[in-house]
């Protein structure tokens, strides 16, 4: 089936909505073209599309192009959890010249298709709702600017076992100062108590 693209010609604000199939992760439960079509009728939605993989390079490229071509002002990506790909899409927005905080995501995978696997109709309805909620929020998003602060180039390592030792040496050898804190009188941890260690059968210290 051809992806559905709807263009609304008279919105006050130009919002772009992208409904991701995530291969079949979302699309096997949620009717993505229908969600996209419903979204296109929402106020201020200028363009609404369903898209195979929003996070893939072609997917991002498509959104980037739309932003530039149509002067989109807000983006709603309805895909996976923002905890996973919010940074990805924020970067994409930035490269398209849009403030990254003008992005809103609707979580159609972790919080819809995957948890309502056997209820395609209900899941599609929920997806429509989630997109509607995201669009209504997106409408009010404001551009935000990140503040640059000085950073201390030192690392605190808590624990002087094999992991603490290795990470401290890696950091220090790369030119970073390390503060290594060990609760016992010597570093070495549990590793130092072992005799031979697998798979090389050599001694631990």
């Amino acid at each position: 089936m051809e992806p559905v693209t709807s263009i609304n010609t008279k919105p006050q604000m130009r919002i772009g909505v992208y409904v991701c199939h995530c291969g079949s992760n979302i699309a096997q439960t949620v009717n993505c073209p229908k969600v996209s079509e419903t979204a296109s009728r929402l106020e201020d939605v200028f363009i609404s599309k369903d898209i195979a993989y929003a996070c893939s390079e072609p997917g991002q490229q498509e959104i980037r192009q739309d932003i530039q071509e149509h002067g989109l002002e807000r983006i709603v990506v309805a895909s996976c959890s923002p905890r996973l790909h919010e940074p990805t899409f924020r970067q994409m927005m930035q490269s398209a010249g849009l403030n990254p905080y003008l992005l809103e995501m609707a979580n159609l995978r972790e919080q819809c298709s995957w948890v309502h696997l056997n209820e395609p109709d209900a899941a599609t309805q929920k997806a429509e709702d989630l997109v509607k909620m995201a669009v209504s929020r997106a409408r009010l998003l404001q551009p935000l600017k990140e503040e640059k602060l000085p950073l201390t180039k030192r690392t605190l390592v808590i624990g002087g076992g094999i992991a603490g030792i290795q990470t401290s040496l890696d950091l220090a050898d790369n030119g970073y100062d390390v503060v290594l804190v060990e609760k016992n009188a010597s570093i070495g941890g549990t590793m130092a108590q072992l005799d031979k260690t697998f798979p090389t059968m050599d001694c631990s210290i």
Binding site: R83, L84, Y101, Q111, W114, V115, H116, E119, K126, K132, V135, L140, L141, Q142, L144, K145, E146, E147, K148, L149, P150, L151, T152, K153, R154, T155, L156, I158, G159, G160, G161, I162, A163, G164, Q166, T167, S168, L169, L171, A172, Y176, D177, V178, V179, L180, V181, E182, K183, A185, I187, G189, T190, A192, Q193, L194, T197, F198, P199, M201, I205
Partner: protein, 600 residues
């Protein structure tokens, strides 16, 4: 280890622990308590004269009590720093009448009884948590008789016994009669993979550690009879299967089934009763020594550090990573990383791999020498601010300051603000705007979710770090729950304003759930205390208004509690079904009237 002691860029504090952490990614202020060693680290050459003179004899912790040490001692010969350490609780004291023998013995004068604990302050840009593990204590598994029979050892005690640097110089002996045992049995999964005692998880290293031990034994004592009792042998790593095959070729007998009972025979050997699950028969074996392959538990300091750093734990008690596949060494809090067994049980290779990964993740963050802060911070509208100072009291980060003069508006220090939004939810004058999670933005979401079939929907507020992540985890685990749930994400449950909840009910919400991190797990120190207080307050208000207070629920759901999230959604749906359309419309009427009253 010696490289660490020598490295000009590594400052090593031993006998030390972290007592306080303030600040945020890029600039953490750390307070370290360094306990007195009573021996100068710089001066001591580890000659050992002091220990020879010391009259106090104590069990040696490093050898797990299998040998002894003095009250002034070196933990082990290769210790870093090499300086001796004096246990002041065991020492007889520096009064020459009582003792002070070490003081006399030390020609260089390195010992100083007047040394005191030091509090040290350090500023760092990133933190790597490498707190390791706690070996499982098999005392509770009484059927193996660890505390009753002397010839039953833990695998760690066994390590010390066969170690050339150990109490017997590497000669294997039975504790009871100090002779080489003719037969040794290993019991696997002691404290691991058990729903009954110990832990449910696999400790990851015990199978290979036992295989290694059998190879060491067979190398030194080819005629020794070795039996290994196991559930499965997990030899999954590179080169591991080879070692397992070698062990079997050398005649080590692997027997599937864990012993149900261990008895001591008159000669201090053990009679092991085991159901061989291959043959289905109960079998008995007499073994001269028994080794319990103990699992790993989270380090004792885990809980304290977790609270101090605002981290999360997995259900098994180890530190929870930001993402199990894609960010396996990152904590959810920016600038904090995990290495080694702090995150989960690991062998040395995996610990080293993760440690290097953590170092690179820290470098990736720090190499520019500057850091971009998230602009998701609060702002105070000076026009609306009444300078009441409520927000100053609330802010877990002390990021808000009151004006010096009376009635000058409060100000947010955006560099210190972490963005929980609790101040915005509590401000009695609506003077605080929480950027990116404004009142209007959230109310818009609520309005649009209830546009259709409002009586069927469940409104859930979930905090980004725990509950929303818990909902994600339910998704990743494909746990099914009612499809009428609609989640609104806030950074912290502390952001959930009373207005949002009443707006939900005004829009026809049958039920509302506020969810956040468990107490003590809050990503914003303790902002969720305010959530709890607020929900109580709102419920009282609901009661006064004659709205059933149960319709507002509060739950703590962690990032690892996907199943709990799904279960709670089921409960919310049951609760929703108890709310009739009539009850909903009555609530709407009540709130509308209430609104009119406050407007007048």
């Amino acid at each position: 280890m010696t490289d660490v002691g020598r490295h000009p860029r590594i400052k090593l504090y031993t006998l030390s622990e972290i007592v306080d952490v303030k600040g945020y990614v890029g600039n953490f202020d750390i307070k370290i308590l360094k306990k007195a060693r009573y021996v100068s680290e710089e001066e001591c050459t580890a000659c050992g004269d002091c220990a020879v003179a010391c009259p106090v004899v104590r069990p040696d912790e490093f050898n797990l009590g299998l040998s002894s040490r003095k009250a002034i001692f070196t933990p082990f010969p290769q210790a870093v720093p090499s300086a001796y350490v004096l246990n002041v609780n065991e020492c007889l004291g520096h009064n020459p009448v009582v003792c002070a023998k070490c003081l006399e013995a030390c020609e260089k004068g390195c010992i100083n009884f007047h040394m005191s604990d030091d509090e040290i302050k350090e500023r760092v840009g990133s933190i790597i948590v490498a707190t390791g593990l706690e070996p499982y204590d098999p005392t509770e598994l009484d059927e193996y008789g660890y505390t009753r029979f002397e010839n039953v050892l833990t695998s760690l005690e066994f390590e010390r016994l066969v170690n050339a640097g150990g109490p017997t110089k590497g000669k294997l002996i039975r504790p009871t009669d100090r002779r080489l045992p003719k037969s040794v049995g290993f019991i696997q999964c002691v404290g691991s993979r058990s729903a009954r005692k110990g832990s449910k998880y696999c400790s990851n290293t015990c199978c290979m550690n036992t295989i290694k031990s059998t190879l060491v034994l067979k190398e030194h004592y080819p005629d020794i009879d070795i039996k290994v009792f196991y559930i499965d042998i997990r030899a999954f790593g590179k080169g591991f299967e080879d070692l397992f095959m070698r062990s079997r070729r050398l005649g080590v007998h692997y027997l599937r089934g864990l012993p149900g009972n261990v008895e001591e025979l008159p000669d201090h050997s053990m009679r092991v009763a085991v159901e061989n699950t291959v043959t289905g028969r109960l079998e008995f074996f007499d073994l001269e020594m028994l080794v319990l392959a103990i699992g790993m538990k989270p380090a004792k300091s885990t809980r304290r550090l977790q609270e101090m750093l605002g981290l999360q734990l997995s259900p098994d008690g180890f530190f929870l990573e930001a993402h199990p596949k894609l960010q396996p060494v990152d904590a959810a809090s920016r600038g904090i990383f995990y290495a080694g067994c702090a995150e989960s049980p690991k062998d040395i290779k995996e610990s080293v791999t993760q440690a290097s990964a953590a170092a690179v993740r820290a470098i990736r963050l720090m190499h520019k020498g500057e850091i971009y802060t998230e602009p998701i911070t609060s702002e105070i509208d000076p026009e609306k601010c009444n300078a009441c100072g409520k927000c100053v009291e609330i802010c877990p980060y002390n990021a808000i300051t009151k004006g010096i003069r009376k009635k000058t508006p409060c100000v947010v220090n955006t560099a210190a603000c972490a963005g929980c939004g609790t101040c915005a939810a509590e401000c009695p004058y609506d003077a605080i705007v929480m950027n990116h999670f404004t009142d209007d933005q959230i109310n818009n979401q609520i309005d649009s979710m209830f546009e259709e079939s409002s009586q069927e929907k469940i409104l859930v507020f979930a905090c980004n770090w725990c509950s929303y992540a818990g909902a994600d985890y339910a998704g990743v685990s494909r746990l099914q729950y009612p499809s009428n749930v609609r989640i609104i994400r806030t950074m912290c449950s502390g952001r959930v304003d009373e207005k949002f909840i009443f707006n939900g009910f005004l829009n026809g919400a049958p039920v509302v759930l506020v969810s956040g991190c468990h107490m003590g797990d809050c990503h914003y120190i303790d902002a969720n205390r305010w959530t709890e207080k607020r929900v109580k307050k709102i419920r009282k208000k609901m009661e006064k208004l004659e709205i059933r207070p149960e319709r507002l629920q509060l739950e703590w759901i962690s990032a690892a509690e996907g199943s709990r999230f799904a279960e709670i959604m089921g409960r919310m749906e049951k609760l929703r079904q108890s709310v009739s359309i009539q009850e909903i419309s009555e609530t709407i009427e009540i709130l509308k009237n209430q609104g009119k009253m406050t407007q007048n």
